[in-house]
């Protein structure tokens, strides 16, 4: 058996629906059509009445999810592209994120955001929104990089009593395959050392984990061993694992597909600089997408976000510092 990242997401939703009558799926075209990316394919037929097509109303979709959660349901919302969650921003950050703290009533919703770029997607279908949501107290932000994590973390997201922003990466939907779905999993909030190494800690998440792995192969051929830390969730951020890695290597390169300004990589650098300054043999560095809207043409897009090549180059530079 071989299962893709997208199939893992579908399988997790099927399992959640089967095991918990409180779970339902709400979003545009998620019903008979099976979702724009087919992440909910066949689920409506399998679970009649529990996979509901919504009008194109991201604000109302998220508002309804909050109301349903208050009444004891556990909605999974699919936003067609992460970019369109800006329309629902108010309901996510002001309604869902504040509910528990204000009222003591938890808000168990999962917002699935097909995130990040793919070839030819352009400025409005490629954005990575994790830093934006992580900025707000009250939200958990998951960014799975593997098929296994996509499956187990989505199940965990549904089980958690708080709003989870589930940033699944569109580029990984079909590119990644695993042999089987996992029985057990590392809990969210814990980072994973994807590849051990002694010379530099490369802290990243989501699709960038795979670019980082390719960069590490390149550098291994040159005699440098990069240690790759896959954050898995950006909020909470596993500062302990990051710090332990930096303690081993003395160098930090934080890599993210999102924009640089005040983002996840900035947070990583800030924490390491504040808490582990004496562990560092060189200034902590970060690599992000360029600070422009996301370009459409493949030539431009390939240079806009970090790639194995630009990551390897940044690592080489840092190793020389």
């Amino acid at each position: 058996m071989s299962i893709t990242y997208l199939e893992a997401i579908r399988a997790a939703q099927a399992k959640a629906l089967a095991e918990d009558p409180r779970v339902f799926i709400y979003g545009q075209d998620v019903g008979a059509f099976g979702g724009a990316f087919k992440a909910t394919k066949n689920l409506q037929q399998e679970f009649p009445g529990r996979v509901l097509d919504a009008p194109i109303s991201e604000d109302a979709i998220l508002g309804a999810a909050v109301g349903a959660a208050i009444e004891g349901m556990r909605p999974i919302v699919e936003i067609q592209f992460a970019d369109f969650s800006t329309v629902a921003f108010n309901q996510i950050v002001n309604q869902a994120a504040t509910l528990f703290w204000r009222t003591g009533v938890p808000c168990p919703i999962v917002v699935r955001l097909p995130s990040g770029g793919t070839l030819g997607s352009g400025p409005f279908h490629s954005q990575s929104m994790e830093a934006l949501y992580a900025h707000y107290p009250g939200l958990i932000v998951m960014t799975p990089a593997t098929v296994e994590d996509a499956y187990s973390m989505l199940l965990e997201a549904v089980a958690i009593d708080d709003p989870v922003i589930f940033c699944e990466h569109k580029f990984l939907y079909y590119h990644l395959k695993a042999e089987a779905l996992p029985e057990t999993a590392l809990p969210a909030g814990r980072a994973r050392i994807t590849r051990p190494g002694r010379d530099l800690s490369l802290v990243t998440y989501s699709a960038m984990v795979h670019e980082a792995l390719a960069a590490a192969e390149e550098l291994a051929a040159e005699g440098a061993e990069l240690e790759i830390v896959d954050l898995r969730s950006v909020k909470p951020l596993d500062t302990d694992t990051i710090m332990a890695s930096v303690a081993r290597t003395g160098r930090l390169l934080a890599v993210g597909e999102a924009w640089p300004w005040g983002g996840v990589t900035a947070e990583i650098v800030a924490r390491v600089a504040a808490e582990g300054f004496n562990l560092l043999d060189a200034p902590p560095q970060r690599l992000n997408a360029k600070d422009t809207p996301i370009p459409f043409h493949p030539n431009l897009w390939a240079a806009h976000r970090p790639t194995a090549r630009s990551i390897a180059e940044a690592a080489r530079k840092l190793l020389r510092l």
């Binding site: 919504a54 009008p55 109302a60 009444e71 108010n90 309901q91 528990f100 703290w101 009222t103 009250g138």
Partner: protein
């Protein structure tokens, strides 16, 4: 013949009774609002004070038309409706005076108070945002197989211009949810007159556009408000889908107590829209024989006593203690970001 007679009497009696009941809530709401405004002027209130003055007849009718188990997401001017729906006076006083014993424990205040588990939803400031939340609650109940409940929420004429309003109304219509959406068309959104807010002849046109039932009502007339809200709630409960009620009235105060409402056109105050619904209600109560002037006088002093007692009690209560506060924004404590809370 006899049977018809009896029925008519019962109806007459129950109408008089609900008029009297509604009027008592209105008296309580008006007096409680005034008390909070006085305390505000004395510098004793945390945050602002926003009155329901002039909107009590409409608001109380919502609270009275709903039943326990229904959902109510009130807006700032809905003190009368809240009280009629069962909100304790203490909840209002505690949030205004900053008692930690209030339902929001000092974390949110005044108009943002509520008890979601009791069906009294807590508004966020962003206008229009509560409508879809009520939709979701009604959707949840449908999925749970619990039918027969109604969700009501309110909005002003200004709030009807938000995207959230339109998305949510359309959503409710598509799902045919038992939503009662009450619009208080009080002629101003803060200082903006309705002519700068919408260009349709009446906000009732919106109902038609979305495929939902619309009901217009004179918001200064308690009798009419009670009848209209009863009809709307009943129709929603019976499965006729969302019901929109548009009440015409005038806000008889500023947006909040910080606002002297200099911009209100004096001709509006003189017009039928400017009638004080409390005075109209009193006449209706007397005309229906639901109470005597002496009884009304007694109610007035009763509500005053109740309010003074609540304020005296709350003034003895502790404020929130920042050192005892749980600075935790999520319930899954194992996922708290330790770094963030330091």
């Amino acid at each position: 013949m006899v049977a018809t007679q009896t029925t008519r009497d019962t109806v007459g009696e129950s109408r008089a009774e609900s008029l009297a009941q509604a009027f008592r809530w209105m008296l309580l709401a008006r007096a409680l609002d005034e008390k909070m405004a006085n305390l505000y002027r004395g510098g004793r209130i945390h945050g602002g004070v926003f009155l329901g003055r002039g909107q009590e007849a409409l608001s109380v009718s919502i609270g009275m038309a709903l039943r326990p188990g229904d959902i109510f997401a009130p807006l700032i001017r809905d003190l009368a409706g809240r009280l009629a729906f069962g909100e304790p006076v203490l909840d209002a006083v505690r949030t205004h005076l900053g008692s930690v014993l209030g339902p929001m424990r000092g974390r949110d205040g005044n108009i943002h108070r509520g008890r979601p588990r009791a069906g009294l939803y807590v508004m966020i400031s962003h206008l229009g945002a509560m409508i879809s939340v009520v939709n979701g609650a009604l959707l949840a109940r449908r999925l749970q197989g619990r039918s027969g409940t109604v969700g009501a929420t309110c909005i002003g004429d200004g709030g009807t211009s938000t995207g959230a309003f339109h998305e949510a109304l359309n959503q409710a219509a598509v799902e045919r949810l038992p939503l009662v959406l009450v619009i208080a068309d009080n002629q101003y959104a803060y200082s903006t007159p309705t002519s700068r807010q919408y260009a349709c002849a009446s906000l009732l046109d919106r109902a038609k556009g979305y495929g939902v039932d619309g009901h217009g009502v004179d918001g200064t007339d308690l009798s009419a408000c009670l009848a209209t809200l009863n009809t709307a709630v009943r129709r929603a409960r019976e499965g006729h889908g969302p019901q929109m009620v548009v009440a015409s009235l005038l806000r008889l105060c500023g947006h909040g107590e910080h606002d002297d409402a200099f911009y209100v056109d004096p001709r509006l105050k003189e017009s039928p829209l400017g009638r004080d619904c409390l005075a109209v209600a009193e006449q209706q109560v007397l005309a229906a024989g639901a109470a005597s002037p002496a009884q009304i006088q007694q109610w007035r002093s009763q509500v005053q006593q109740e309010i003074e007692a609540a304020v005296a009690q709350v003034q003895q209560e502790p404020a929130p203690d920042p050192y005892a506060e749980r600075w935790e924004a999520i319930s899954t404590t194992r996922l708290l970001d330790q770094f963030a809370s330091t």
